[in-house]
Assembly symmetry: none
DNA sequence: CGGTTTAACATACAAATGTATGCTATAAAT
DNA sequence: ATTTATAGCATACATTTGTATGTTAAACCG
């Protein structure tokens, strides 16, 4: 087969890889071969290995479907490397479970990107119910992205279970106790009994869909 | 190895699969085996096949790493399939260009998911600058996701260029003219000259990162 | 209790998949 | 024009990975 201008096919291979990898479906070498109609596996493999050398892809040698987007290719905000987007569950409500969260009312999944949250750490989305954080720009129907953390620093906006009820508030430590501050003068500061309080994690993002 | 209570391991296998699949890294049967310390591949495979029978996983027979989340497990907003996430450019500011937008101050890319916006239609993210939409929960530093549209319906929140300045407001049609309404009593309604007004598109999402 | 289901194990095989080597022809560079 | 680097082809091989068959023992249920 005739050869194409230098670098052109390579770019298209990378585009395909990015698309497939972001969709969570890493291709095999032979799938790449077929996608481009190469008559030889090796042609596809050469392109993939070249992309690895260029630092645009990473690979896990030997493993099937082992190519991944290199960190640098996933994205850059200014100088920073950025983690690949992941999908986190969107819950309609949360309830206390024996361990972890009871995944009830799963509404769907949200693509979330964060450099600070490790791949093994837990994230979830939660739909906002009251107006208690109105003045912080968190309105009913909004979605908060929550980073599950065993302990949360003072001043952060958190999701907490008070008894059976989930609530979003700003956390303030007062000695041994924890205060939950609303951002709305119509609501009162809560100072729940430590036994009934379970801080689930910290809000790292707020979203509103305006359909 | 002793057997665990019925259904318990199955659930944990599903959790693992969900996590890995959402992270874009479909495991092999043997990876599942190792993750749980099974001494036999078949044990892992039996669980996976069972999950397929239960409708919680789908699989592509024969393909390596061929297990996927079943649609019912991945997503359900009502009955709809959901579009794959895409990456849209985040702009620090927008400026009028000869045609389209001048992509200046590219800050990075954002993963966005929308069923309503076609794959060929243009989206961009824009960082919010003033307080003019405060009461709509759109605060300085927030990011709005904008759907580039030639015409925008009455009542939608839009990004518009008035002269050289980009602004976010609610659009109201008044006969021939277009009014741009702030959501903050401290700001005035704008009724720009049609020659100096260019509506760039509609805001479909608002995001705030609380890092 | 006794029968049935299910978790888990062991082993083998076939298909999918990654890898290696050698070759040809054309674009790109000097 | 000559050299060099790159695109692409062909084929073979080793490993990974999916699949099948048979066995054992514990959980579950009437």
């Amino acid at each position: 087969m005739g050869r194409t201008p230098t670098g052109q096919t390579r770019e298209q291979v990378f585009q395909l890889m990015r698309e497939r990898l972001l969709a969570g479906q890493p291709p095999t070498v032979r799938e790449v071969q077929e996608a481009f109609g190469f008559r030889s596996v090796q042609t596809a493999r050469a392109h993939l290995e070249a992309l690895v050398s260029e630092g645009r892809l990473d690979k896990q040698s030997g493993r099937s479907r082992g190519y991944r987007l290199a960190d640098s290719a996933v994205l850059v905000t200014g100088e920073d490397r950025i983690a690949p987007p992941r999908l986190v569950p969107l819950l309609g409500r949360v309830a206390a479970g024996a361990f972890g969260l009871a995944v009830e009312d799963l509404e769907g999944y949200l693509p979330v990107q964060s450099d600070r949250v490790g791949a093994n750490e837990e994230l979830f989305g939660l739909r906002v119910r009251g107006e208690s954080m109105r003045d912080a720009g968190i309105l009913p129907g909004d979605i908060v992205i929550v980073w599950r953390l065993p302990s949360v620093e003072d001043g952060a906006i958190v999701v907490a279970l008070v008894g059976e009820e989930a609530t979003i508030k700003r956390l303030r430590r007062r000695g041994e106790r924890i205060e939950l501050h609303p951002a709305n003068p119509d609501y009162a500061v809560m100072t729940p009994d430590p036994d009934t309080l379970q801080v689930l994690g910290r809000v790292i993002e707020v979203r509103r869909y305006l359909d």
